[in-house]
């Protein structure tokens, strides 16, 4: 169970990005969570609410986009989306593949920030 320490780092990264953008509060955090990230969604949501209290993220909504595992199949010469994470075989031709194209993500992709004048500011990295 390391979701508490993941949640602490999540709040830390989000709070710093929000501060850099001149925000006072964060109302939404958008997160991409890969099937192979090793993070349990429920445990992360639970930990996030606790860790976010007393920070600029207090009460913020955590919007999680779950990403399935995607491998690249050489014989088929294309990517294939897999169901679950216990088999790494191409669903079309059954060839195993270690070439993972999606599924390890554990990243923040957006924040909804609030503060005086934030709407005027330009994104730092447009």
């Amino acid at each position: 169970m390391h979701e508490l320490s993941i949640a602490m780092q999540l709040v830390d990264v989000a709070a710093r990005a929000a501060e850099d953008a001149g925000a006072e509060r964060v109302s939404v955090v958008r997160l991409r969570l890969g099937a192979l990230s090793g993070v349990v969604r429920d445990a992360l949501e639970f930990s996030f609410a606790i860790v976010a209290a007393d920070t600029a993220l207090a009460g913020a909504q955590l919007q999680i986009e779950e990403l399935p595992l995607v491998i690249y199949c050489v014989p088929c010469a294309r990517k294939a989306t897999l169901v679950g994470i216990s088999s790494f075989r191409c669903p079309s031709c059954n060839t195993p593949s270690g070439d993972i194209r999606q599924g390890r993500e554990l990243e923040i992709v957006g924040l909804e920030i609030m503060g005086a004048g934030v709407a005027q500011q330009q994104p730092l990295h447009p």
Binding site: A23, R25, L36, S37, G38, G110
Partner: protein
């Protein structure tokens, strides 16, 4: 108060990953092979390392090892008998090691990476949480004891999938 959407792309573990990348660069630049050993509690990480460290030290290789456990310095004492430089990391309840602790313990031990040939990390016995934390190793080694059941890679796909090497331990059955 105004609201706006801030598009960013930031890895949640970016701080750990950056520290790990810095460590790996230092290992690479100094020709040190760094390995991170993960398994369930009791699979035989320390036993495997005891034999490996002894063999390397006997061949005149310069070896250092960090070992993480929730409590006790038993493993560090076992490994130190090999003659290698060993340091225990006590996590006091934490179920995995992080790159920052590896860096801090290397400096607290006073080890100079440039003077090493091999650097071993024995992670906390746990098949789940260590998977998420890059420690700057060049190779992640996962151990599986034959007695744990052959379906462990199916039950713990994240760690087995992230490993570069797998070692099967306890494959010689003891006399009954």
């Amino acid at each position: 108060m105004e609201t706006r959407l801030l598009a960013i792309r930031a890895g949640v573990l970016s701080k750990n990953d950056e520290l790990a990348a810095t460590l790996r660069e230092r290992f690479d630049a100094n020709g040190v092979l760094a390995l991170n050993f993960v398994s369930s509690p009791g699979t035989g990480k320390t036993a495997w390392l005891e034999a490996t460290l002894r063999a390397l030290v006997q061949r005149g290789q310069r070896v250092a090892a960090l070992v993480g456990d929730l409590e006790t310095d038993n493993d560090a004492r076992r490994l130190a008998r090999s003659g290698a430089a060993v340091r225990q990391i006590l996590t006091h309840g934490n179920c995995h090691l992080e790159a920052e602790w590896v860096r801090n313990h290397i400096s607290a031990a006073g080890w100079n990476i440039a003077e090493l040939d091999y650097f071993f990390i024995e992670n906390v016995g746990n098949l789940v949480c260590p998977a998420s934390y890059d420690l700057g190793e060049q190779l992640r080694v996962v151990l599986l004891a034959s007695t744990e059941g052959e379906d462990k890679p199916l039950k713990y796909p994240v760690i087995f999938n992230s490993a570069d090497v797998a070692i099967i331990t306890k494959w010689i059955s003891p006399p009954l």
